[in-house]
């Protein structure tokens, strides 16, 4: 069985998460799933996901919508009786799903990618561009539904009327510095992945 030296899903999740070792001590009590404000829409509760990670059910875990429904509110993390950094594990699972190109919930990742695109280009977020570009390019069907167009359009107009949407994006001065840092960070991250 020497060929099976490949590290387990559990090991990889633990390694990629700061403080992730605590995952080994999950009691399966469900206080995460109970505390989660968006748990009703998740296909597996975080607790179930942890049991699945233990069982090595890689396809099901990385295909689950659970991490994408995480709102990063940390309610599970503070209430976890075993101090497992659950929110950070959700981040890890999202990254692993993206790296594998295996995710069933494209809206969330597209939204995140659009957002990150702006940040990497300009160093700042840009809400108007974000909302329109995200909806136009990634959810065109919904966006072009008459009711939705009306809704989004009305909100956009309302936002602009209240000067809450900038029309033009803002950039930081030393964007080169930021881009160099992010490029280097990606190299360092890739190096770690290989190791």
């Amino acid at each position: 069985m020497k060929a099976a030296e490949k590290s387990t899903l559990f090991d990889r999740v633990v390694k990629a998460t700061p403080g992730g070792e605590a995952l080994a001590q999950c009691l399966q009590c469900g206080s995460c799933g109970g505390s989660c404000p968006s748990a009703v829409d998740m296909d597996h509760s975080p607790r179930a996901l942890f049991a699945m990670i233990n069982a090595g059910m890689e396809d099901e875990v990385l295909g689950s919508n659970t991490p994408w429904y995480c709102v990063s509110c940390y309610a599970c993390t503070t209430r976890c009786p075993q101090n497992i950094p659950i929110t950070d594990i959700m981040y890890t699972l999202k990254q692993m799903a993206v790296q594998r190109g295996h995710y069933d919930h494209p809206h969330a990742i597209k939204f995140s990618e659009t957002f990150i695109g702006f940040v990497e280009q300009r160093g700042r977020g840009f809400e108007f561009g974000l909302a329109t570009r995200y909806h136009l390019f990634h959810r065109p069907k919904q966006f072009l539904q008459p009711t939705q167009v009306f809704k989004m359009g009305a909100m956009g107009a309302n936002m602009m009327r209240r000067q809450r949407l900038p029309v033009r994006p803002v950039s930081i001065r030393e964007i080169d510095q930021l881009q160099a840092i992010l490029a280097k960070a990606k190299v360092v991250a890739a190096k770690e992945m290989q190791a």
Binding site: D41, F118, V119, F126, R164, L165, K184, A185
Partner: protein, 317 residues
């Protein structure tokens, strides 16, 4: 008293979508005698999105701000947005806790000729800073228009209370409640004060997001509040801008203004609505000013418990 200057990280959202927050922060700072000096050429903190997709660049993104602030000689940095606050706080903390991460982040920073030693900066939220450094005594002292008769639902949201407890409780903090009372108003018994506003869920799953927003608004109104007080632009946006949609989805007609806490302080300090950025909100908040009474309302008598009722547990002060 010499004017104290704080290194300030406003965050993207305050530049446009929630400019009212920026306006009121500046106005209140001036009135309370401290200055907010932006980190030179700061960049976005990445919100929750960056951490979701690429952990190490996300830490590096945030660390650039920490490095630039520390380079400017700062020992603390104040953020008014809870998400920005947590990203700055967490990056500093994790770099301190995990030496390997620290090395990696600094390797990335090196590409921009920067470095950051974790622990150099104390990352603080504007609310905590005002409560601790300015203090209740000074707030009371500077109050020109006590907010008698107003009832506020103190909404802390997630990221100041969790994962680390920078206020007085991760579940039911009371510091902003106390602040509201100092300003002459009443803080309502608002149980969902740290329940999540939904964050970016509005963009991903309306059903989920509006459900959460609706619960918060309902609980705030049920608690007898005239307005909700927030400390985070994301919370304000979700509760204010999407209030109508949540009403549509649940067939309710709530119309409760959602204010920034510095707008509440500003009102009490006697600043004008214009100085505090009123008018950007979806649910109009100007009506609140007319509700302010000239003297404190009579203390509501504690409801008499019937003779046969059992005593409530004694609560420690």
């Amino acid at each position: 008293m010499s004017q104290k200057t704080y290194t300030y990280y406003p965050g993207c959202s305050l530049q446009h979508g929630n400019h009212a927050y920026e306006v009121s922060n500046r106005a209140v700072a001036k009135a309370l005698g401290f200055e907010l000096a932006e980190i030179d050429d700061w960049n976005c903190c990445g919100a929750t999105e960056y951490f979701s997709l690429n952990r190490l660049p996300a830490y590096a993104l945030v660390a650039r701000n920490l490095a630039r602030a520390a380079d400017g000689g700062a020992t603390e940095v104040v953020a008014p947005c809870s998400a920005c606050f947590l990203n700055l706080y967490k990056t500093d903390k994790h770099m301190k806790l995990y030496p390997k991460l620290n090395d990696q982040v600094n390797e990335a920073l090196g590409a921009g000729n920067l470095s950051y030693k974790p622990g150099t900066l104390k990352v603080r939220h504007l609310l905590e800073m005002i409560i601790t450094d300015v203090g209740f005594d000074m707030l009371k002292d500077r109050t020109r228009r006590p907010l008698y008769g107003l009832n506020f639902a103190p909404y802390y949201g997630c990221l100041i209370a969790r994962p680390d407890n920078v206020l007085d409780s991760t579940e039911q903090p009371t510091l902003m409640d106390q602040m509201i009372e100092v300003l002459g108003a009443k803080a309502t018994d608002f149980h969902l004060k740290t329940f999540c506003c939904g964050g970016h869920m509005t963009q991903i799953s309306e059903e989920t997001a509006y459900g959460m927003i609706h619960r918060i608004i309902k609980n705030a109104v049920d608690s007898g509040a005239d307005a909700i007080v927030t400390i985070c632009p994301m919370c304000q946006m979700n509760l204010d801008v999407y209030q109508g949609y949540a009403n549509d989805m649940f067939g309710t007609k709530y119309e409760i203004p959602v204010m920034f806490f510095t707008q509440v302080i500003g009102l009490a300090l006697g600043l004008s609505p214009r100085e505090l950025g009123f008018g950007q909100e979806f649910v109009n908040m100007s009506g609140l000013i007319d509700k302010i009474q000239s003297s404190p309302p009579p203390k509501a008598k504690a409801a008499r418990r019937p003779k046969e009722a059992l005593p409530m547990p004694v609560m420690p002060e």
